[in-house]
Amino acid sequence: MNNQATQCEAFELAALRRTRSALDPAEESRLEAHLRACAPCREFAATLEATSVAMSSHARSATAALDWERVRTGFVARRRAERNQRLRGLGAILLLVGIIGWSLGPAAGATFAALALALIGVGYWRLVRPQLRRAQAVATLNTDMLAFYRADLDQEIRGLKGARQLVVVLALLFALNAIFMLGHVVREQLLGHDFPNVRSYVATFITFALVGGAMWLRGRAVLPRLERERAELGQ
């Protein structure tokens, strides 16, 4: 029984290879002889033929109905929109840098600007450009591309989750710091001292709130989609 199953499996493989003209004449005649004698293999070959024809025919008709000019202008417009989105991001960064620089003076402004640029740059690279990064990675691939795709998505999901955890930790630290700062302000007022200079603290908090908030919200929007994409790929 097992021998028969193994033999049939070999002929099923041969039937598949025949669809791509990958059989030599001897294999072809062995397959023909087997198909004449074996009903399950005949059924497999018939289903194979019918489904192949249906799929090809469906693809041909759908392709014939497609408006290529619309497709062409569609992706040109999408690329333009992506570029505009990048320009808007750059504008937001420059605005942020300007606010920080104005409130803190040149040295501190430059430090915060560098930090903001680095954080937003990394966040942007991780969240907006992974498709291009993956497109570049698959160009040099010499292993199973779907296995690579799974591993790459896992890494992306881990990175996003890690970034969100970092934002939570930093938010907790900021909250603690805010409590201490508030305590300090109240104590100074009770002692009748001048109102302490909290401008740099407020500027740091605004930077964190903007960058961290953007990273958190982006992660919240992107993570479910990435997880669905990962589930789609299976194990």
């Binding site: 290879r17 008709s61 497109a135």
Partner: protein
Amino acid sequence: MTSDSGAYETELLLRVRSEATRAAAFDELFIALRKQVFGVCLHITGNTADADDALQETFMAVSAGLPRFRGDSRLSTWVHRIAICAAIRVVSRRRDAADVHDVDPPSRGGDPVLASELAAQIARAMDQLSADHRVVLSLFAVDELSHAQIAEILGIPEGTVWSRLHCARKRLSAVLGSAAP
């Protein structure tokens, strides 16, 4: 583009590398591969709207990645790999949609009504297969792709392609069988 078009692809790659000829080379690449890529996307996504979306995403990524494409793989191999990723991404994005299969009646071959019905059944059955199976079946459904090219696209040996296709075919038959009235 067929399996014997290696020389043409090399020549196209040279033009892609030059900024002066890149745009024209991209247009040529789009015209040469659009049908195959759309076919792969159509079978993976199961409907023309999603396939259209995946096709656009594919050529957006190709257009953005071309300046840095160094020719480590064949251009067509690279484009098909991007298309597979794009199609899977599009499916995952629209997974919540109730029924996304809008199989159009085929214009050629056999009884159009029966063929259309079967195509719709196949699209629904494909939806229940694993990504590995769906992808290999989709690539084999594109007539112009040879099994060697499919192995190259998937980055696996030819023997593995055949065995994966065999498993996918058996699974597809089983799902189609269980769905039959």
